[in-house]
């Protein structure tokens, strides 16, 4: 929240115009709230803003946001895991009320769809990527999962 907007796009354009007519190739502006770098790049210019120095540090945002949670473990008690290929909301069925794609005891092949991850308003099918039998379902229907989070435990095929 601010009392004054920082520089407007028009201000930045004016700064570029002044620099363009000079011998300077770079301007760096540090305030308590942001850093702005205006840099000559070939025949043109670039602008880079950084607001992460103020208030909420990048570290805090990282912890609070599932988008930036690191991938989880590869296995679950020694058994392979089907992990979420991207962060989002996990759905076990194609539609509310419909039967789930897979359930405990079902056999899966690499191209079996085991669920849907809704990310950025798009429904992304999740494929098993391995062969085996579903032993446990770790992620609850309709909940947020992180990138790499374990969704389903698969038991090796007992041929």
């Amino acid at each position: 929240m601010s009392e004054l907007l920082p520089l407007t796009p028009e201000d930045v354009a004016a700064i570029v115009a002044i620099l363009d007519g000079s011998n300077y190739d770079r301007l760096e502006l540090n305030t308590g709230r942001f850093t702005l770098r205006v840099v000559r790049d070939g025949a043109g210019w670039t602008q880079e803003w950084d607001w992460s120095l103020s208030a909420a540090s990048a570290g805090l945002e990282r912890a609070a946001n599932p988008a930036v949670v690191e991938a989880g473990e590869a296995e679950h008690d020694g058994r392979p895991l089907i992990r979420s290929p991207l962060p989002g909301i996990f759905y076990r069925a194609p539609q509310p009320g419909a039967p789930p794609f897979v359930d405990v005891g079902d056999r899966v092949a690499p191209d079996t769809v085991i669920g849907i991850i809704e990310t950025m308003k798009l429904m992304n099918p999740v494929h098993a990527g391995m062969t085996g039998v579903v032993e446990a379902i770790l992620a609850e229907n309709g909940t947020m999962v992180a990138n790499g989070e374990g969704l389903i435990v698969v038991a090796e095929d007992a041929v």
């Binding site: 929240m1 601010s2 907007l5 920082p6 407007t8 796009p9 930045v12 354009a13 570029v16 115009a17 363009d20 709230r33 942001f34 205006v38 840099v39 790049d41 070939g42 025949a43 043109g44 210019w45 670039t46 602008q47 880079e48 803003w49 950084d50 607001w51 992460s52 103020s54 208030a55 909420a56 990048a58 805090l60 945002e61 990282r62 946001n65 599932p66 988008a67 930036v68 290929p85 991207l86 962060p87 989002g88 909301i89 194609p94 539609q95 809704e118 990310t119 950025m120 308003k121 798009l122 429904m123 992304n124 947020m144 990138n147």
Partner: protein, 445 residues
């Protein structure tokens, strides 16, 4: 007079609205979700009101939560931006009931244009040509309609817009599964699973007309061409639409104004047309009763601030612009930079942006809410910014676009920057006037 404006949106458009409101001396209150508490728009708004938790169904899409937050913050107007509740008649009605001005058209216009089937009827009344098709509430109805319309066909969300819930069906065998997917996407995005079917015109161009109306009259601010799309998501937009014969171009403008006049339209709106790339016959597709993502290209060629016009009209001021005074000059192109891995089937790429270096300088405009260190949350759409370039001619603008894209550098998440470099270098794009199949014909690895 609007004194306290509640911005019921997020991302670049929230920031865009805050900038113009600030210039007009209006206090801004950003209605943000928990996930956007530390976003750039939240840092730059005068005040922040939390409208709910991260998922948009409980925050940005919740009429009750947004209206309650707007009331509690003593806002006298709400700007809905695009997407979310921007074309939701119930939301506009709830705002009015709370004594808050909705920055958008009258409820009657929202209802007429928000339902795509009613929009077709109204357009026919206004004398505009439409594409053959109709509603399909169930799979059975869809099969019947499909039989009438023929393949390939399009499935569209009745409450939709922006390509969400839209699917192309090439064969009868695919119909059922694509209906299910279109209905669940429509439900997720708009809270309304209804869809309708339309004939697919193979060599079509997507051309739209920006209009402004004050209830008493309407004017046009020229055309935009948005034919470069992937799965009905626009990637590149330009103004004016290139390579259309003057008489057909003029007819498009007139048709759009005719519809706006027929509706006694109040606000900014966009009338979308499908233009046959060979005959230049055109069909009304829909009218978006809100500001569009691609509005900056119109601003670049007309010099009109469309957000300012929206706020003035919402304030019941008569249009201060005269049709003869609004003459688009030069050419502008916008590319949408999305956090998507375009080499991996456009998989969304949420996460932290370690570095964001955007182009700067004359004839370059960047609308973004993401700077170095910013976070792209997984809950919302993938747009992280828009690069807009302009020039005296289309040729100038294309050359500037290519140069600006070379300087653009985003690290930490995957983006569509590389794809746009390919497009900017594609001879078909350089020539201009491509149809909506452009993307399929793009050679990429």
């Amino acid at each position: 007079m609007i004194r306290r404006l509640f911005v019921a949106n997020r991302g670049e458009i929230a920031l865009r609205i805050i900038r113009t409101a600030r210039r007009m001396g209006i206090v801004t209150i950003l209605g943000a979700s928990e996930a956007d508490r530390d976003s750039l728009p939240a840092k730059l708004a005068d005040e922040v009101a939390i409208v709910g938790p991260a998922p948009s169904s409980q925050s940005y899409l919740s009429v009750d939560a947004v209206i309650a937050a707007a009331k509690a913050s003593r806002a006298d107007a709400i700007h809905p931006g695009y997407g979310f509740l921007s074309e939701n008649a119930a939301f506009a009605r709830a705002a009015a009931a709370a004594g808050i001005t909705f920055v958008g058209p009258d409820v009657a216009s929202l209802e007429a244009m928000g339902d795509k089937l009613m929009a077709r009827r109204v357009a026919i009344e206004a004398g505009l040509p439409v594409v053959p098709g109709g509603e399909a509430a169930t799979r059975e109805e869809a099969r019947l309609r499909a039989g009438e319309v023929g393949y390939p066909l399009l499935l569209k969300a009745v409450s939709g817009g922006g390509g969400r819930g839209m699917k192309r069906v090439d064969r009868e065998a695919d119909l059922d599964s694509l209906i299910d997917m279109a209905m669940s996407e429509a439900q997720a995005a708009f809270g309304d699973p209804r869809i309708y079917i339309e004939r697919y015109i193979a060599r079509g161009r997507h051309v739209e007309v920006q209009v402004l109306g004050d209830g008493a009259g309407a004017i046009n601010l020229g055309t935009r061409d948005c034919s470069i799309q992937r799965r009905f998501q626009k990637l590149v937009e330009e103004a004016p639409a290139p390579c259309i014969p003057d008489d057909r171009h003029e007819a498009l403008l007139q048709a759009a104004v005719r519809l706006a006049t027929h509706l006694s339209y109040r606000g900014a709106g966009t009338v979308e047309f499908l233009v046959d790339a060979e005959t230049f016959d055109f069909y009304f597709l829909e009218m978006n009763a809100r500001i569009q993502v691609e509005h900056p290209v119109t601003e670049a060629v007309t010099g009109v601030d469309l957000i300012e016009q929206q706020l003035l009209i919402a304030d019941h001021q008569p249009l201060g612009l005269d049709q003869r005074a609004v003459k688009p000059r030069g050419h502008a192109i916008e590319v949408r930079i999305n956090a998507e891995d375009w080499r991996a089937d456009f998989r969304p790429s949420a996460g932290q942006i370690s570095r964001a270096v955007w182009p700067a300088g004359e004839h370059v405009r960047v609308d973004t809410h993401l700077a170095s260190g910013g976070v792209v949350p997984p809950y919302y759409d993938s747009l992280i910014g828009k690069l807009i370039v302009s020039g005296a001619s289309r040729e100038d603008a294309v050359a500037r676009l290519a140069a600006a894209l070379e300087r653009l550098q985003i690290e930490g998440v995957s983006t569509t920057v590389g794809l746009h470099r390919l497009i900017a270098a594609d001879p078909r794009f350089v020539r201009g006037g491509v149809d909506t199949r452009f993307f399929e014909g793009l050679s990429h690895g």
